[in-house]
Amino acid sequence: MEKTYYPKAWLMVLPVVAIVSFSAIVPLMTVINYSVQDIFGPENRYFVGMEWFREILGDPEIRGAFQRQFLFSFAVLAIEIPLGIAIALCMPRKGPWVSVVLILLALPLLVPWNVVGTIWQMFARPDIGLLGIGINGLGIDYNFTGNSIDAWVTVLAMDVWHWTSLAVLLCYAGLQAIPDAYYQAARIDGASRWAVFRYIELPKMRGVLMIAILLRFMDSFKIFAEPFVLTGGGPGDSTTFLSQYLTTMAVGQFDLGPAAAFSIIYFLVILLVSYVFYQVINNLGKGVS
């Protein structure tokens, strides 16, 4: 078939090209540009090739931060997704309680990150915070500013408090979309509660679970404000996550080159892991040809 060329068609795509350029391509190119140069001043910069990438990948502190970050994100997923499913399953399907429960669940999602950090900072303080005093009152020695395990548990608890609702709301929407006939058919087929979950509810939630997992992975991998306000990354560097390192490097020390290389690696890791999640979930249960 002969192709017709119509040069003015470019005008049609121009707005999109312009918007995408400013929103993504130009900022990304700037970062790539910085990542291969050593910049002392506007007129004073040298091309260094892959030097910064080598430095970042070889830095034991950053490697440590990556390990911490993965551990944190997987802990978040391991807690929030099953908990979200469980809460969604317990929620009423209809009636006046639905809106009450939905509003209660949505509340944490409305609180800004810094405020969440501040709330928990006070809530968990062993001297004046309700939680801190309570735990110590039970005879458990708890101090999130002094003990790294306590700090970790507190950061995780804070994230679970802040974001489990998102998983709940998504799962709830997924469950609500299942037609009654499926439950009725399952009753006629004599399916147990577990079988209903395993063969109807879980497969039908696949789509929303994928969204929940991807969103919670990406967000938790990028976490910054909450632990920064709560623990400041401490004690030591036990709760210093990647964003905090990056911010210190770029804004605190003004090491633009290494920070740019760091940013690109950070971005690619999120992209790669998200892609893997997407593929795995999408192909789950397709074992039978």
Binding site: A181, Y182, A185, D189, G190, A191, A195, V288
Partner: protein
């Protein structure tokens, strides 16, 4: 095998019904014979699905009893009743193969794998699903999916009744016919009691031995297709069955005839006998198939409004006073001019009092 009895059955979704308008299902008393093929026919919202769900146990009736083979099953949960139900849209377990879908009801009941294989293969062969047993059910066409839903109902050897809730809604027209044949074939082979809900009269008439016509929560007639056609017990049945439906004309009675718009229409002895007890609003009803055109001066004069060629027959719309009347004319009969005379054969002219057949 099951004989299904509905004793004084009624259902209201709201609770505390204050009058007939609060009932989704009005009081009914019926016996559905073992091994019969029944169609529940009626417009949307007439209570068909409610009745079906009460029989399968998905809904608890607020009044009366459901009895299977003499045993009251009101309190028996769905999974313990030996009925299977097929829904409007195919219900499949997405992650399972066709085989596992069919095996699911048996596995839930702890049947041994050997026995399961035997049953699944038998049912799959019956439904022509043998070739796709290993495939994932979700990837199949709508008709195959619905066959799997049917198969899950039939696979249990203890199933005595299969309930269908408009199962052919999502099936292509040319496959509908085949699937309906298949259901009929299975019915003949397994001698199960089949209850088939539909709002499509063709489907009901071709599928069932006996048809239960429902309107506004009430069973208005239970009978064979022929009975519904020839002797509708209620004007609703007359309207609903047939295309177009029965003609109804307001009338009075005078001696041995009904009087419509000043014209006398003679009635049969049988109808006249029964008419003596009739009270309320009177109508005569006659099927377009039974109305005849006549040259005789005793015929009722009518204006011809239009003629429609329907291929096998011609449909003529006529007017007598304020009443519209449809007449079905065979292709070989001569067409009337603008005016015609109608003959109402007494054996096919029925009398209705307050919408109910006078008999």
């Amino acid at each position: 095998m099951a004989k299904i009895e509905l004793r004084n059955l009624a259902h209201s979704y709201g609770g505390n019904p204050s009058g007939p308008q609060d009932y989704a299902l009005r009081r009914m008393d019926h016996v559905w014979e073992d091994g019969g093929a029944y169609a529940l026919l009626g417009p949307s919202g007439c209570g068909k699905t409610t009745l079906l769900n009460i029989i399968s146990g998905l809904v608890q009736p607020s009044e009366g009893e459901v009895v299977f083979d003499g045993q009251q099953v009101n309190t028996l949960p769905t999974e313990r009743r030996n009925v299977a139900q097929v829904f409007q849209f195919p219900v499949l377990y997405d992650t399972m193969s066709v085989y596992d879908n069919l095996a699911f009801p048996l596995r839930n009941r702890g049947v041994s794998e050997d026995r399961i294989r035997e049953r699944v293969e038998e049912i799959a062969a019956m439904l022509d699903l043998g070739d796709v047993l290993k495939r994932r059910a979700v990837n199949l066409g709508a008709d195959a999916k619905q066959k799997i839903s049917v198969g899950r109902g039939l696979v249990r050897s203890d199933v005595a009744a299969v309930l269908f809730d408009e199962p052919l809604t999502v099936i292509d027209p040319h496959l509908k016919w085949r699937l309906r044949r298949k259901l009929k074939e299975i019915h003949e082979r397994l001698q199960l009691t089949l209850v088939y809900v539909t709002h499509d009269q063709t489907e009901a008439l071709t599928f069932a031995d006996r048809i239960v016509v429902m309107s506004e929560g009430e069973v208005v007639q239970l009978g064979t297709p022929q009975e519904l056609f020839e002797r509708p017990a209620h004007t609703f049945v007359g309207y609903f069955i047939g295309s177009p439906g029965m003609n109804f004309l307001d009338c009075g009675l005078d001696g041995d005839a009904a009087v419509v718009d000043g014209h006398r229409i003679p009635l049969s002895e049988e109808v006249l006998e029964a008419a003596r007890q009739a009270e309320g609003r009177l109508e005569i009803g006659i099927r377009p198939e039974f109305l005849e055109l006549t040259e005789d001066s005793g015929g009722v004069p009518a204006e011809v409004e239009f003629v429609e060629d329907r291929g096998t027959h011609r449909l003529i719309k006529t007017r007598v006073g304020d009443n519209e009347l449809f007449v079905k004319l065979r292709d070989d009969q001569p067409l009337p001019a603008e005016r015609a005379r109608l003959r109402f054969p007494p054996e096919w002219t029925l009398l209705y009092a307050n919408s109910r057949l006078v008999r």
